[in-house]
Amino acid sequence: MADLKLAESFALIALNAQRSLELTIAKKAALRCMAAAVILELHLEGELRHPEAQRSLKQDRAGEPQDWTYRKAVIDPLANGKRELNRELLWWLHRASRLSKRKLVRFERSIADSLKERGLLEEIPHLLGCDLYFHSADVAIKEYRSDLEEYAKITEYLRADVLEDGRAAEQSVCLLWLLRESGCMHDLFSRNELEQVTAKMVNLMQSDPLAKVLYPFRIRRGLETAAKQLLQFKKHAVATQAGSGVNFLFPVLERSQAVFIDTEAMLSGPGTRLQDVLARLESKGHRVQVLRAGQVPLLKIDNLVYEAIPHAVYGRVPIHGVRLLPKHPV
């Protein structure tokens, strides 16, 4: 397991399956949380409390270029004068989560480049490029893919730490908050597990000093706020006396895609259909693992799981194929 810092671990979760060339709402929310993760990373290392250490962040450090480049991209625009040097954690988080679009893009490049250099992140053709309309129009969209092994290790560690009894590590406390704020919670936990996660977070808020400060703080800005408020509205709209359903415990900013892949032949059997789908996905550079074959196969494409449901789209003639529908969690 690569020795990753908090911001790097979170970046591998948050950037996975995000468009790499465009700044979507989901990616902007993820980047704001990644900037907050840098602040938390420095806080855990005790750097924020020592003005001298903060000053050193502003200088180039020869031995550790990877660490400091992405940290500097967040800290430099925030700490301009001496009066900023002794601020509280929440002040830093508030400022970091409100970085401008230009600064967020610069930060994204610095952290993505450092992860790419180490072979932990790569840019591949986007899954949407396999869709009938995008494929036939030859539209190229790129997405990030986190290293499959490293992604599994980070998420499995978090699941083992959070879902089992006992004290959660500080890094897990921070990751839970970051996942909640970035809308990535549903990528990692099933509906039943989300209830446990909620209970754990409530428990941590009462017992853990860091969680007590961190969990009431919300990252909200612009369109992301509107998107989250819409989800809040949906939550209230569907609420009954019995409750509102676990589905709405945490807002989701969807990052998986509903993609239609056409098959070569009409009315093809499950085996041929699956072969066609695998061929299309692999030709676009995706790593596919068949978790379950049959009428409705279950496929793990890169780091996300999809159901391949037989489907047809109707134009002048019907086109048969499969619709890939995201299935949470991995």
Binding site: E156, Y157, A160, D161, L163, E164, G166, R167, A169
Partner: protein
Amino acid sequence: MSRQRSMEAILASEYVSIGELTRLTGARYSTLKFYTEEGMLPFEQAEENLTRRYLRESTVELIFRIKRMKTDGLSIPQIKAALKEER
């Protein structure tokens, strides 16, 4: 696909699968998989594609020990280091 063994059969056998360990200990499948990948739970595997087998008694005891250590406030890396030291 093999049939699920009864609890009686599981308790009588020397080796168990990871799924059976979840039934014996109440720990999650994903947690046990993670512990195995991290080298915390020793297993036997005849060939690469065959199922991993765990010695029932010692592994169950080990899982309960890990649970206790976690409840006592140790983090997973600390537990891993402690187990490594003992071996």
